[in-house]
Point group: C2
Chain length 306, copies 2
């Protein structure tokens, strides 16, 4: 079982409008809702790949209830909180396909709720093959939260992937996670370097065992104890990048638990990410595109001498 | 008891953002929610004026549950429907105070649900001193719905105020409501005339017993069997006009059930509307401003010779 943690779960609401005009009133022509937050997105992709997945994090209020009702294909181990789960609203302009995003801040989690979550997490980790810690922290959760969750997983001998940013990332890296997956901006914020090859190495020195940086259309750069690689999609892709980063996390985790080599794992992650960009539904991946792309990702690199 | 009908109830969500930028991602700094739809807004003002109010219409799904939980000071006689109640999202730009509005279309109401509502409405009307029929019709409700609800109220001898637009207004006017409260645009659409004095008279000929047109900052124009009046606020007001029209409806209804003269009723409606524009909270009225303004509204007109 793979455990994904989404401390700040969300209900992702998508509105389609004929045209977005600031300060006007808009009739929404189409409303779509689904569970959101990075960890739930990663779980959806892992489940589609055939993995057994359990999701945890917080769910509260009427929005939390909707999130739980909409979860399919994964085991729901979300922990209740009193304050309501946040919504995100993406307004898609039908002329251009561009989205304007509004993200609620998330529930204020109480110290007692955070303790209850940590206990639930410790029990779940004991039965997990790998753990993913994903996304932002809601108000009330201490900034060192991910560092503590990384330590719990390491103590249980369970590999942990971390995908977050800012101070939460900085602190958790010092707790020595197995794998971090920053984008270029998060990596630069962590290391102070805008040069991805240098920055991935620097992030390893700060405590991450392996670092896979996602560089958007340029693919992935990996720095690991086993070697360094670069994986690039076969062509420049047009589409919606929403969820592409979460598809990378899912690809990396699935490669990890299946014991794939780094080049095969990175190729899978890039193919999943590209197939997500190409999908007509934001955040889903196009399975035919994935299967086609999986064999066509270029991976170059060098293995570390044993 | 005053009965207000909101067939297409809503959960009104307000987001404050530092600045609205199309195609960007926004962190929402403040989220507020409250029951919405014109009839629920009218009910809130009537309750604040000390009237006993019952609200009906549809409520469905998780959003309907939230609407019902947030109702205070009024009797909840909403009728359940299977599809979820709509949300409206107002995004307020903190730099300018301007709002950008997104309105979901509303639940599809089934024929069986519409029948159940009509039965509930008939029972409620029997105990009402006056009825307000407010707002748009959700998908599935026949366009002649308000005409039928007007007839039911008239058969029970209960005066009925109607505030809607388009074809639903046109059909319901033919059913001879006691009072309609169109704005200038709705009145022009109904009558084809952009001249308010002429148009209010024309709307009476089409079936409405009395017509009170709201002309925004210019106040109200009334055409009734008792006479014709114009009521204007004492000064040009700066503020948020959200809910000002619903405050007019509440003022008219309260004057009607209290047996006030038309000039006193119109003065109250204008003062409530102005106090709503001046309120820091959209849709609420500022009580001190209301009490101050109530004596300072200019009403001019002529009484019909008996």
């Amino acid at each position: 079982m793979i455990l994904t943690v989404t401390v700040n779960t969300a209900l992702d609401v998508t509105y389609r409008v004929p045209a977005l005009l600031p300060h006007a009133a808009h009739r929404v022509t189409e409303v779509a809702e689904r569970p959101g937050g990075k960890g739930l997105n990663v779980a959806r992709v892992l489940a589609a790949l055939g993995h057994e997945v359990t999701v945890t994090g917080f769910a509260g209020g009427p929005t939390g209830r909707v999130v739980r009702d909409l979860l399919t294909g994964v085991t729901d181990a979300l922990v209740p909180c009193a304050a309501p789960t946040r919504r995100t609203v993406a307004v898609v302009d039908q002329r251009t396909g561009d989205a304007t995003q509004f993200n609620e801040p998330g529930p204020v989690v109480t110290p007692a709720e955070w303790s209850a979550f940590q206990e639930a997490y410790e029990r779940l980790v004991a039965g997990a093959d790998a753990v993913a810690l994903c996304g932002s922290l809601p108000p009330g959760v201490p900034v060192g939260a991910y560092a503590s969750l990384v330590r719990t997983a390491r103590a249980a001998g369970v590999p942990v992937l971390l995908d977050t940013s800012g101070e939460a990332l900085r602190r958790a890296v010092a707790a020595r996670p197995d794998l971090i997956k920053p984008n270029a901006e998060e990596l630069a914020e962590l290391t102070g370097s805008h040069e991805p090859l240098r920055a991935t190495q620097d992030a390893r020195r700060r405590g991450a065992r392996s670092v896979v940086a996602s560089l958007g259309p340029q693919g992935l750069v990996a720095a690991t104890p086993e070697g360094r690689w670069r994986a690039t999609p076969p062509a420049r892709l047009r589409g919606n990048p929403t969820g592409a980063g979460d598809a990378v996390s899912a690809g990396l985790l699935s490669g990890l638990v299946e014991g794939l080599t780094w080049p095969r794992t990175l190729a899978r992650a890039v193919a999943l990410s590209a197939a997500t960009v190409l999908s007509p539904t934001a955040g889903d991946f196009d399975r035919a595109a994935y299967e086609d792309l999986a064999g066509r990702v270029a991976v170059t690199g060098e293995v570390t001498a044993a």
